[in-house]
Amino acid sequence: MGIGDIWNLIAMQPVINTLIVLTHYLFNSFGLAIIALTLIVNGAMFPLTLKQIRASRAMQEMQPKIAELKKKYGKDKEKMAREQMRLYKESGISPAGCLLPLLIQMPIWIALFQSIMRVLAVIPENLTGLSQYLYSWPVVYSTLPLSSEFLWLDLATGDIFLALLVGGTMWVQQKMVMAPSVDPGQRTQSTLMLWMLPIMFAWLTLSFPSGLALFWVTSNIFRIGLQYFIGGWGGLVKSAPRRDTGRDKKYKQRIAEVEEAPLGGADVVPSSAQEEDLSYEESGDKRPDRGGGYPKSPRDTKPKSRRGGGRRRKRG
């Protein structure tokens, strides 16, 4: 059994058959089946997505500190990298926390992507090729071939409105997680990503069957909802306060602790440090000073002020 066969067995076949069965039970509408399956998959990956969003937000919170490090060690790249890693480590953030969930989700997205393309079976080659992916469920055979009509759309061809919707929802989603940056380089990067990715995806969507665009739009809307649930409108509304969950507060607390930590000479923090930090957090006791952390900067000697004002505004 080759890799292709394994991929078909564990990814393509389940997704394709589920799509067809969903179509059967959702009024023979392939469009509704795509939406339903996208929501099911997003729901199943909810914990991973949540972790990814939180990690991303925590990384954003770290940006001022990273900028400060850049200023300080900009020329010594090795030192800079070491300090950056230590900052991540001490604040309990793993850069892989952003990427790992994304990597795990990638095969699922690709399977969905390929399945939609195959199930649409626009040309004879695809319809006949579909037969090898089907389970022997009678409902699957009686439902095929699927109609590509959904609302005003032909799901087998590109659609300009859906392409704009893909771009728009992607922009909103990115804008929500984007934190304001003081570093001009960082700001340029953020702005580029904010605009380039949605534009390129919208353009790409025009070339793909709109069934795929429907999947992207549904995914984006789901994530927008999730991000709103976690942190409000975020960067979308500048003045809007962000509602933090317990986990977010924990992340922020860690970052604040690192920022407030007095300077010290220890280059490497013992691996048990994080665990101890956690236990202190949970018990509510104050963390004892071990003399580790970061070199003291003039800023560190001043009382800390919260970003966006001295006081935390209450919601509602």
């Binding site: 690709i110 390929q114 004879p124 006949t128 095929l144 071939p145 380089g185 790409l204 070339s207």
Partner: protein
Amino acid sequence: MVRNRALSVGKIGLVLILLLVGLTAVGCLGIKTAPEGGSGATIADGTIFLSPVLEQAGGFGCSTPAVEGKLVAVNAENGVQRWEIPLGGSAPASGFGCAQAATPVAVYGSPVVVGELVYVAGYNGKIYALNADSGALRWVYPREGNLQPIVGGMVVALDRLYFGCSDGKVYALDAATGDMQWEFATEDKIWSTPAVDGGTLYVSSFDKKLYAISAVDGIQQWQFESEGAMASTPLVYNNMVYIGTIDRYFYAIRASDGTKQWEFQAEKWFWTRAVAFENTIYVGCFDNKVYALNALSGEKITEFDLESPIRSWPVLVEDRVIIATEAGKVYAIDTANNQIGLFADLAETIYAPLSLSEGVIYIYTQEQNLHALNAASGVRLWTQIVK
């Protein structure tokens, strides 16, 4: 500072490009989105007519169609090309993605030759009538614009040309002029070739129905509804209509009134047309098997596992059924004792119907090779690239 910013922008651009190329390449892997076509061979007066498989241009993991399709005339004796006529088409637009960017003239149905005309049905929704000697265009239908894709073949009877279309309609054209005589609407796509017998046209549709229509005026005589869409071409034999469907059933329907006589269930769906010999129906299936069924009762006489799906139409050579698998193996079933033997191993992908003429079997493969095999022995007479 400026240099750093430029570097950052460059990095982002690179990431975006890699993301897009990766997504397109990985996502489209193995998925064809442009029709390839590739018709069966039709032989008349020593000339083979066929429409080649379209060459796929490069792309980011997706197949993109060639600019145009064509009809090729080949000498049946040695495979040397006599002439070729382009069937039009528009240049593919540039871009990533898997969408069909052009209107290529892929042809799936075998050409039909009647008198001095050769007819070709294009996936671009056009019917072409050409002079069989020179390839000169006589008429095209519709004269302006296009129908939806035509996937099945055509049949000529009563001086009319009949074909089904993806718009769900059956069209009857004057075979000499291309003027429309009548049209008949079904409720979904038609991808099969109609069968005609005694003034009645039998047409299967994706709407799960088989229709019997008067070939004269297009009036419906009866309809038979199954559980699954029908994409295969019906076989009319001894006042019965035999057809397989996507719901994995093979049906025998009385030609006079559309009453079901029997049904047979396979493991996967039927795409090819059956052949009949002395009250035995031989039909290939996507479950890799060829079934021999009693034409009267539907009882399974025997089955042959050929280890590859069967899409191509078989041919009957005297008392032997010659049938090809997608994997390129050609088998001969002796109907006297239902014994099967390997006839030829072409080791190429076979989708197109097999053709028989004057003791020679012609097979056109997706690798764009036209093979001529001795119908008695299976010995390869010649092979020519037709593209």
